[in-house]
Amino acid sequence: MLSKITVSPAPHVSSKLSTRVVMGDVLIGLLPAVIAAGVFFRVRALAVIGVCVVSCVVSEWVCNRIRRRPTSIGDLSAVVTGVILAMSLPPAIPFSIAVIGSVFAIVIAKMAFGGLGSNIFNPAMAARAFLAASFGTLMTTWTVPSTVDALMPTISAANTSATTQATPLAWSKAVQKGQVEAHYINEQTSGAFWGKVGGCLGETSGLAFLIGGAYLLIRRTITWHIPAAVLLSAGVIALTAWLIKPEGFINPLLHLLGGGMLICAFFIATDPVTAPLTTKGMWIFGIGVGSLIMLIRIVGEYPEGVMYAVLIMNSLSPLIDRFCKLTPAGGTPHVK
């Protein structure tokens, strides 16, 4: 009865939560979006997701082997990275490039820093930024969702083809230059909600992410602060711009629904590893992400700024953490 007695420091019981459960919840939260991608882009989308997940998991396993560490793929974080990376790729992406991105995400952005928990940058976003830098054309070629006819003509001169089209956000740049009238783009708002616009796998349907995000919030996998901060700050900036000059800027709702805003708010910016720890820090982080996204969309060169906004704020989150240090319940002790 006492043969297998153990001693250990207190506490001797723990909650049922584990990293695997947390990551599993994130995957469940991503499920609606995966289904939506499957509906809009058919087998191709699922194939891209599959390629990304498999290559992420394999890269992680190989890294573990090289370091002679117990394998860490069981915590499912590599799967999450794979899915999020796939969600941020256009459906027509060649598989080889998806593999390069996955390897970059896991090997360079994650395992080189020491694996899960040590990475400074969101692996999926770092990989996407690298792919965008390396394969610009391929990364901005959008397939028309199979559920709709081509609504908008392509704007990429180099890739004139009937099956590609621009995303609403790409058009928003044209609106700002006065080349297209805003209302034409604003008609896409409901499309962006249901998923009838072009874009990356995870950029088409806002609804899927709202469902997934609600799931995460209910499960308390994420706290509400970062999503709220991102959406609020982005919304306020978009609304201000739109109120000042309605013909020069697209509908703020479209800004919130379009592009990677929602996946960013619920799944990417909330990545606990790369976000600040404290509530105050989360607010700063979220507002930073939201504002940078809008800054890049409105002022910058790119129609979409999610990955850069996230990466920039990731790099700042150690500093944010440092300057938002918690005060103990009894106040800071007096140093004698």
Partner: protein, 201 residues
Amino acid sequence: MSSQSLGKTFTAGLWDSNPVLRLLLGMCPTLAVTAAMKPALTMGLSVIFVLVCSNIVVSLMRNLLKPHLRILMFTLTIATFVTIADLYLKAFLPDMSAALGPYIPLIIVNCIIIGRAEACASKSGVLVSIVDALGMGAGFTLALCLLATIRELLATGKLFETPVMPSWFTPWAGMGMPVGAFVTLGLILALVSVITNKSKS
């Protein structure tokens, strides 16, 4: 000085105290000019030239140096030879001069050169100083070329601007950008430390 120890002085710069890979000196040009082989090689050769010349001059006047003016003398010498190298490039290799831009004059503040002047030339004879300069310079050039080969190959699929990769290869433009420079050098340095640890044990 026997030829054997001269040889050792030379090879030290290639690996044991390779300025880039082991001592982490002169990182700015290493990162900046290695997007392609041609500028990397030009930079390497320029550094060898400046290093050899300044080592000779410093070695010649090593006994006349006064402590507090030592660094000033080194700087003066190096700046002179860097200017000469710059003028030469402008005159005879205008394309390279344009491509390298301010990184040639920045050789002046490259720690390798002033470091060798201090650590070797101001203490040793001319012959040793020359060999040391050649070794260090060759080490620097090799490191630059290594980095440039990888980057140019992946970024453009070419080497010395001649296509070498198969046609299905999609160039990774990112490798030609700063990110490519930093990440590739980081990985190379990690590899170097793996090799060093292996050879130690």
